[in-house]
Symmetry: C2
């Protein structure tokens, strides 16, 4: 068996719709070297993997070569842990089922595992962040969409098919629910993602004519960051937007807790950093909606990983979990 002493590093690769970021990471979660390429410009997955490897290999060499690397972890949209494939990812240019983990293993002869980005974030938080030492927690990523990674008994929940943990697509509004990108109505993601917050802003601005700093921005250009900036300046409507969003998220978290009764729920992403504006209504709604036996038990925490590092760290953390076969 090879120990971490002999292979002290892992590689994390985060595949985003725009950029692919990768880095060499040590056991403490320090990114020793990193680089990135554009994801979309490569016509085939083969050419894309070639391009990543071309830029990744010099980083690996700079840290002592392939023999120092325990494994590669990949975080990718629609990533399937069991098969190491990405399947019908709507935001990536390569269609169908792509055996991405095998393609990296072939080129680099390093064991490679892959999962979706929210699952990678959960493992990252468990390895280097706010969930260190926890065996039961739920990670919620609040970005362009809403993703989740669920850890139970110290293990990530992949489910029967490898796709478990789609909490962004739990229905939170059965009646008159907003259309979601998934084609269904009323999903959590349609309200609590960055795009959901911007949509709430547009709806509220239209629903009344109260003064708001947000009226200075063309409605279609409003971003969730603008709502935060306005809230900081005391804008009443901006705070109402956070109240509305936090309430829906708090209600949803109460249901998630009824499922797996986690020690903590960890929030990641822009919305999570909106401080009390989001946390106060969230905690109030959670407290009002939670089943009695769970009241006051689960902690609501904010990710401890730096935004710029989190994706690479999360992906890299997966590689520590690879079982030695030798």
């Amino acid at each position: 068996m090879t120990s971490n002493m002999e292979k002290p590093y892992v590689v994390g690769i985060d595949i985003g719709g725009t950029n692919t970021v990768f880095g060499i990471v040590d056991a403490r979660g320090t990114i020793l070297a990193s680089d990135s390429i554009k994801t979309q410009i490569h016509a085939t997955a083969d050419k894309y993997v070639d391009a990543v490897c071309e830029r990744l290999l010099p980083l690996i060499q700079s840290q002592g070569g392939i023999e120092k690397i325990k494994g590669i972890g990949v975080g990718a949209p629609n990533g399937n842990y069991y098969s190491g494939t990405i399947e019908f990812a709507p935001n990536l240019p390569w269609k169908g089922v792509i055996s991405l983990a095998a393609m990296f293993e072939e080129r680099l002869s390093i064991p490679t595992v892959l999962t979706n980005d929210a699952n990678a974030a959960a493992i990252g938080e468990m390895t280097y962040g706010a969930a260190r030492g926890m065996k039961d927690f739920i990670m919620i990523t609040l970005g362009t969409g809403v993703g989740s990674g669920i850890v139970i008994n110290g293990q990530l929940v992949y489910g029967h098919d490898g796709f478990a943990g789609e909490l962004g697509h739990v229905v939170v509004r059965r009646e008159n629910g907003r259309m979601c990108g998934c084609g269904r109505k009323g999903c959590l993601e349609a309200y609590c993602s960055a795009t959901g917050v911007a949509r709430t802003a547009r709806e509220m601005l239209q629903a009344n004519s109260d003064a708001s700093l947000l009226r200075d921005i063309p409605a279609e250009s409003i971003m969730s960051k603008d709502v935060y900036d306005a809230a900081v300046k005391g804008d009443k409507l901006a705070r109402e937007i956070f109240n509305f969003t936090g309430e829906i998220l708090g209600e949803a978290l109460a249901d998630f807790i009824a499922f797996s009764s986690p020690e903590a729920i960890i929030l990641f992403g822009g919305l999570a950093k909106s401080g009390d504006y989001i946390m106060n209504p969230l905690k109030k709604a959670l407290d009002e909606n939670i089943l009695n036996i769970f009241k006051g038990k689960a902690k609501i925490l904010i990710s401890e990983l730096k935004d710029s590092d989190a994706a690479v760290l999360g992906a890299s953390a997966l590689a520590w979990e690879i079982k030695d076969l030798s």
Copy 2:
């Protein structure tokens, strides 16, 4: 280590609000001997445990004595696996936290584990029933209430505090939700339990004046079994009641699948035995509400355990999971 050859039997004890049923069970799920006592007539938990043991010991002796018993499994309302306690069970006469597992161990010197009844049902189904060989499934018990037991990676989900899996109290109607026994509004249990079905019947009978066989029964006496009997006779309103109930259950199951992506959902209890009346609207709603990547994957199954045996078998199955310490 003692093998199952030496200790070939387990004991299952199911504590219900009315009766406590117990039996000796072999590895194939045959109940070799069983008996029962009334739960409520014992003023203290100590006297109650004494009474169970007094009737249980002769059964154990008849099968070769204590040395043949690997362990005791107890299914109890509000049972906590980690602590072996029942905590503030509303339908039991003994208040507060009761160390029930320890009390049985003390008297019988047999390792004893305890969990809530729906969790016991899940373990029973995995050991002897429809979930044999499955590592990821969700058990839903549709009785007076709605309970659940969730199995992920072959392990029951107990959560951080031992109370995970309260899917009967996930909110399925946020607006104008029915009052639930838990004090909250819109819970799945308020619609899809036997009492929920009876309530739907009363509401629908009041909402219109269409002819129905159910009008022959005094409204307050209608039971879910009456609705089934009427549906079998072709009663239109009775079928509408099942459609309404099945639709809500199907919507809820779609969300549960987004959480843990199970191989199957197994339904147990009276409502589950209502055949196509409940299954057709349930499967239709599930199909219409499920996220695309999960479509058609999870099987919806009916428990394979006989009603009269299921509680004892479920509790007994827990005892097979006890780790040998010797």
